[in-house]
Each structure stands twice: as structure tokens, then as C-alpha cells.
Symmetry: C2
Subunit: 184 residues, 2 copies
DNA sequence: GTCTATAATCCGATAGAC
DNA sequence: GTCTATCGGATTATAGAC
């Protein structure tokens, strides 16, 4: 056989692309920028990701995996259903407060490509649906009803497009909703 | 004699551009598409709007004017401060429910052009700040405090990136916040 | 309608492991 | 020497601008 492939090339490219896509938006970032940031040639990029849509899909999938890992970590310890719900809400609030936060990657993609039905759009939509379903399960598990789940989702949604100062307000509020002050 | 300029040309172009920009996003729509939709020549477009940023700025300004007109209409009759607040919230919920709604034009622009500081971005940011200040005044006027204003803004924010089914939940909830069930 | 820049994509050339 | 990962320029379409 011939030359051996450099290890981790795909990851290097994907990581570079993910950073750019999130910071500047998928549409605003050209393949040339990705090539430059990854420090590779164009051919190599197209070998691993045949089209920009493929690269965007991989970016969203990577982002989803990272979030799932973070959420799993946060839900690892608490066993009390209300604690679990609040752990997730607090994690979201922390994310939103982090420097460099530029909104939810999935909502951003759908805003950049409205009405799109390609693979990245499907990935974004299914992430949002699954994320909401998980939140619903946590709310129901904590003794809440459908209405409470709808309300909490509304606040979480608002958090994603708000300012960092909204985060503590949201956490405190949701805490109050699931643990009323006048209860044991 | 030279030909006299057709009246309302600027408006025709701007209306066509606004529809496209809102539906597909500013980045996704090319000047050629605007020309085609407006049914004018390219030179005429560039005579009225020297650059795409100018056209985008005009689009956002037009959108702002339309919203201000709608909001003024809705706030025309109610004199009771709580009624006024709820009138605005209901109007927003109705907007979000309307077919063809694709999110808030100003938030969408800022998502499409993150970190931008050009005129359209400034228009979008100042609209959002003014809109929030107006909401704050209505909440304070209705006897609410800063915390309530923060919460209502969070819900309104969430409404803008949610589904039509969130609208009645939000209206009912905010109504409950400003008119508690156990009060006169 | 034309012009130029830049987008996405493709291909001939290079180079390194067997 | 061969075979293939990789690179940088070539190609084509479309953008914004005049």
C-alpha cells in the first residue's frame, strides 16, 4: 500500500469548521475559510465532507453530541426529579451566560436557512423536538403538568435569544415554579 | 425632455425586497432576485439603494414603522394600564400565530449577521432595546416591578422563536401574572 | 448589460509510506 | 517504484456593484 493517512484529520477539520460556523454563521463562512483554519488543502476537505451541507450536518451532529454529553453529566447525580429538572435548567442558563455564546446553534441554523429541508435542517429540527421532549419528561417526572412544561419551554426558548442577565431571572423563576415558596 | 420618474418606485422595490428578506433571510436573497421581484432594472435599484446594506437598513426601518403603527393602533383604546399591557402581549401572540410568520425580523437579522456593527445591525439592536423599554414601561405602569418586566420579556422572547401553539399559553400566563385569579 | 470578487466545487501536480 | 493522502491552482456559477 501507499501513504498512510494522518490521524484525526477529519476531527481537525470539523473542529475548525464548527468554531467558525457557530461564531459567524454557516452562510457567512466559506469553504476557503474552513480550509485556512483547518490548515489543510481543499481536496482533503472535500474528501471528508463532499459538500458544505455535509460539513454543516457534521457540525450540528457534533454540537448535539457535545450537548448530550454535558446534559448527561449534569443529570448523573441528582435522583430527586425536581433536582434533575433544575439541574438541566441551570446548565442551560450557565451555557447562555458563557462568554462567546451566540445563541442556540440549531435555532440559528434554522434562522439562516428558513424553509430548508436538507439534512442539517432535519438534524436541527429533530434536536429541538428531542430536547423539548426531554424537558417535558423531566417536568412531568417532577410532578408538573403539560401546562407547566409549555411554560418552562417558553422561558427556556426566551433564554436562548436573550442576554446573560436573563439567566439568573429564569433559573430563580423556574425554581419557584417547581418548588413553591410556601411548600415543605 | 427627459422622462419623469415613476412615482412610488422606491416603495415598490422596498416592498418586494422586504417580502423576500423576511421570508428567505437577507443573506439568502440576492440583488438579482430583488430586481426580478420588483420588476425594475438593476440600475434603478442601485439608484435608490446604493448597496445591499442600505436596502437591508430600509427593510428593517420599514418593518419597524409597520410594527410601531400596529402597536399604536392596539394601544389606542385601552386606558387601564393592565389592559394596555395585555393588549400589546396579545398583539404579539397574534403576530406569531399568523401564517407565514418566520420569527422576529430584527432578531433574525442579528442571527444572520452576528457581530456586525453596520447600520442594519444598529437598527435591529435599537429596535429591540426600544421595544423592551416600552414593554418595561407598560409593566411598571400596570403596577409591576422590574422582576415582572424581566419575566414577561423572557416569555415574549420565547414566543418569538416558538411555535404558534405557544401563543395562547403565553397570553394566558401573562394575563394571570398581571391579574392574579384571587384579586378583585 | 457588464464587470469583478468570491462562492462552491473539481482536477492536475506533489509527496510521503510501503 | 508505486500508490494514495494531500495540496494549490483551475473552473464555473452567482454574488454585489456600476
Amino acid at each position: 500500500m501507499a501513504r498512510t493517512a494522518a490521524p484525526g484529520t477529519r476531527d481537525t477539520i470539523l473542529t475548525a469548521a464548527a468554531g467558525l460556523f457557530y461564531e459567524f454563521g454557516v452562510r457567512a463562512v466559506g469553504m476557503a475559510q474552513v480550509v485556512e483554519a483547518a490548515g489543510c488543502g481543499k481536496n482533503l476537505l472535500y474528501k471528508h465532507f463532499p459538500s458544505k451541507a455535509d460539513l454543516a450536518a457534521a457540525y450540528l451532529t457534533l454540537t448535539r453530541r457535545e450537548r448530550e454529553r454535558t446534559v448527561a453529566e449534569v443529570l448523573r447525580w441528582p435522583t430527586d426529579p425536581t433536582d434533575r429538572l433544575l439541574a438541566l435548567v441551570t446548565e442551560i442558563a450557565d451555557t447562555v451566560r458563557r462568554p462567546g455564546y451566540r445563541g442556540c446553534a440549531f435555532r440559528n441554523y434554522l434562522t439562516e436557512f428558513p424553509g430548508e429541508t436538507d439534512e442539517p435542517a432535519r438534524i436541527a429540527q429533530s434536536y429541538l423536538a428531542d430536547s423539548r421532549a426531554q424537558m417535558d419528561r423531566l417536568v412531568i417526572g417532577a410532578g408538573g403538568d403539560e401546562l407547566l412544561a409549555d411554560r418552562i419551554w417558553l422561558v427556556v426558548n426566551g433564554l436562548h435569544s436573550g442576554t446573560p442577565t436573563d439567566a439568573p431571572v429564569a433559573v430563580h423563576w423556574i425554581t419557584e415554579m417547581v418548588r413553591p415558596p410556601g411548600a415543605p
